[in-house]
Every structure is written in structure tokens, then in C-alpha cells.
């Protein structure tokens, strides 16, 4: 996929003039940089990238990348990206967003995007909290995390995005960590190179509302997972992981949904069908 005929661009070329206003320390900064690094390594023409997002801190990312972007409504980025990919298979469609956007309000689209297995990459910047609205529990928040919104914790078990993705038919499933920029860049590169729907779920600390997540820099294991194309083996790995392992859990060649449009008929041909 790395096109050697393309001019050499550096990560800097893929970053726009608009600077992020994320909180200092936020994991999203490192993901943004890793994304730009991955684009540069793959030499993707900027005009061939469609970076689609929903709403949330992380969903601001298209404004920070020098490419075609769409900052849409909450939870629907995958649907918007699907529409783009369907009519423009030549585009590299990258969808990005947070855990609330992707796993809660956008949960249905997440399942069906995995099912469709279209050739696109989904980057989830998971900080286990709604940061933009100031600290409400998300689907990946532990049930006993106390907040103003849920004073006794949610009491609801956490969502397992990797498990859901596997069950739904995604063909590339990985977990990364914002605090490991090098490993993350490699994951993103491989996800984009993968033919099919690739999920890169990235643990990204919210230093403001979940300062305890800074501990992830000590506890997360860097790229320790060995990829498999066996769905049962992948399920075992995903469900036995304590959530701190990173790497590709599953990568397989599965049928990719591509619209089979052809040319050769004209509207006049169809008008004839109505003639009496």
C-alpha cells in the first residue's frame, strides 16, 4: 500500500494550522500525532483521505488534520463514512471518535459497520468517560466509578468493544495505548493497510476527569498480543485480557462489502418499462 511514487510528506504536512484545545496531558494529542505519522509513512495523498467523526473531545480530530474531513453529529460517524466509502471507493476513509460516540449513542452503527466489513478504519479514542460534557460515565466506565451523574456508580458492566467487534464481523481488531506512540503508529498503519473494517480501540487517558488513568502508562502492556486469524482463538484472547494488553487481537481475510455498481444502462432504458 505504501506508494513509493508519491512525494515525501512528513507528519507535519498532515497536521492542519488549527491546534487542538484538548486538555494538556490528554491522550488524544498522541493519537493525533500517531495518525499523522501513519499517513506520512503510508504516503497517503491528503486529498484521498476522508477523516470522519462524530461529537466529543476526540471527534474534533478532523479539524486538526490536513485532509478532507467531516465533523458530523453525535454517534453517526460510521454511517457517514459508510456513505462516503460506498460512492468513493478510491478514498481512504478513516472514522474517529470516542467511547461514548462509538459504543453508546453510535452502538448500532458500530455493530453494522463491523458486519458490513467495508474497507475503512475506525479509531476509537477510549477514555472511559464523557469528557466534553464534563465527566459522565460512558459504556466503558467501570460500574463502581462514582460521578455526579451516577453517585453510586452506574452499576452496569463495561462494554467490551473488541468482543462486540469480533462477534459482529470486523476483520481487524486491535487495542492500542495513547502513551505508546510508536506502537500505536504501527497499529494504525496496519489497520489502514488491512483490507476490510479495522477497529483500533485506543486507551487514551482523560487527565482531567479520570486523572487515575495516568496510571495506564505503568500498567498497559506494550504490543504484547500475538495476532491470530482464528476467531475462536481471538475470542479467547479478547475475553481473557484484563484490558491492558495491546496489539492486534484478530486479523483475517473476510468478505468485504463493496457496492456492485456497473454502467451500461441509461435512464431511457428504464423509462421503456413503463410504456403501455
Amino acid at each position: 500500500m505504501r506508494d513509493m511514487t508519491q512525494e515525501t510528506l512528513t507528519a507535519k504536512d498532515y497536521l492542519s494550522d488549527i491546534r487542538p484545545i484538548w486538555c494538556p496531558g490528554c491522550g488524544h494529542f498522541f493519537i493525533l500525532r500517531a495518525l499523522a505519522q501513519a499517513f506520512a509513512w503510508l504516503k497517503l495523498p491528503k486529498e484521498q483521505i476522508g477523516l470522519i467523526s462524530g461529537i466529543g473531545c476526540s471527534s474534533r480530530i478532523p479539524a486538526y488534520i490536513n485532509a478532507y474531513g467531516f465533523h458530523g453529529v453525535h454517534g453517526r460517524a460510521l454511517a457517514l463514512g459508510t456513505g462516503l466509502k460506498a460512492v468513493r471507493p478510491d478514498m481512504h476513509v478513516i472514522v474517529a471518535g470516542g467511547d461514548g460516540d462509538g459504543y453508546s449513542i453510535g452502538g448500532n452503527h458500530f455493530i453494522h459497520a463491523c458486519r458490513r466489513n467495508m474497507d475503512m478504519t475506525y479509531i476509537v479514542m477510549d477514555n472511559e468517560v464523557y469528557g466534553m460534557t464534563k465527566g459522565q460515565p460512558s459504556p466503558t466506565t467501570e460500574p463502581d466509578w462514582e460521578s455526579k451523574f451516577a453517585p453510586h456508580g452506574t452499576g452496569i458492566r463495561t462494554f467490551n468493544p473488541l468482543g462486540v467487534a469480533l462477534a459482529s464481523g470486523a476483520s481487524f481488531i486491535a487495542r492500542g495505548f495513547a502513551g505508546d506512540p510508536n506502537g500505536l503508529t504501527k497499529l494504525i498503519v496496519e489497520a489502514i493497510e488491512h483490507k476490510g473494517f479495522s477497529l483500533v480501540e485506543i486507551k487514551s487517558p482523560c487527565v482531567t476527569f479520570r486523572p487515575e488513568e495516568k496510571e495506564w502508562s505503568k500498567t498497559m502492556r506494550k504490543m504484547n498480543v500475538v495476532p491470530t486469524d482464528d476467531v475462536v482463538e481471538a475470542a479467547r484472547k479478547i475475553h481473557s485480557s484484563d484490558g491492558l494488553d495491546t496489539g492486534i487481537f484478530y486479523q483475517a481475510t473476510l468478505p468485504v462489502f463493496e457496492p456492485h455498481s456497473t454502467k451500461g444502462k441509461t435512464v431511457l432504458d428504464f423509462e421503456k418499462e413503463f410504456e403501455v
Binding site: 515525501t8 494529542f29 509513512w41 466534553m132
Partner: protein, 179 residues
Amino acid sequence: MNHPKENHLDPLRVLAMIHAMIEESIYHTETFAYTLNVHHNDKAAKVFHLICEQFKAEQGIVLNGTLNVDLPTIPPWEEPYTEYIHPSSVLIHANYLMSESEAWKLMHEMVEIHKRFYTFLCKENSVNTLFSVVDQLVNYCNDCGEKNKRLEAKAETNRSKSSEDIDIIALHSNEGGLW
């Protein structure tokens, strides 16, 4: 992770890695200085900005020392040696309320990552040809270190704001604030 054999370091690859590392540091200190400013923490921002300028000077040394050579493109995930830490990884401990002194502490750690890489290279016999560039970098870091130490000593240790001040961000940002 790909680690090239440490005792067979190709000088150009090493310089490319130094270049890449400094680029990362420049980007992140610049970006964090900006966001600290946006969060009205000008004192911490100033420290990030100052260190960013020093990183830019380090990059100047590398560029000067490699004027007539094409540096190879190194995969962005390649790490120069086993104990290498990405300079941005310390920034996870930044905070919009951080004191000037805390900012210095973080920046100090970041500079140390650079220094550790340079020191590692100095120990390697195979990199003689680069020695002058690396030597210059070490010297520059040491010079800055002295200066930074004096500034750090004078830095304020108190945090000026409480977490309630976060509302200010929304009100003062022209980019739409909260969604």
C-alpha cells in the same frame, strides 16, 4: 517492536532517529504550550515554549551536521534502543492547572530522554562518524540544563486555579467550546 542491532548502528539511521525524536518533542511542546495558553495557564505555557525553542536549536545542530546528506526514512515505530522512551510519554502527566514548577519538572524529564539517547550513542563505538553532532547535542543540552536549573529554582509552585475554573475554557474559546 523493531529494534535495530544496537552495536551495528548505521550513522545515518541514527541521525534520522535523532531527527525524528526531536521533531516529536518540538511538536508536542509547541502544541502543549498552545493548549496551556488556551487554558489560561500562561506560566506553564511559557516553560513549554522555552523548552520547545531549545529543542528547535537541537534540531538546528542535527540539520547543520547533515547538510549534504539525505537522511533515510525510518519507520515511525522503530525505536533506537531497548530502553528508549518516547519523549511525549512524560506529557501524560501534564495538567491544565499545573504550576510553573511542575511544568519545569516535566520539561526536565523530556530533556533527559534526549540526553539519555545521546549518552547511549556516545558509548557506542560504531558511531564515531557522528560523534561531533552528538557531542554538540550533549554540550548544548548541558548548557541549557544549567540555565534551566536556575529558572526552575525560581519557579512558582502554587497552582493558581481550582478545577471549577474549567468552565472558563468554554467561555473564552472561539472554537465553539463545549459541544
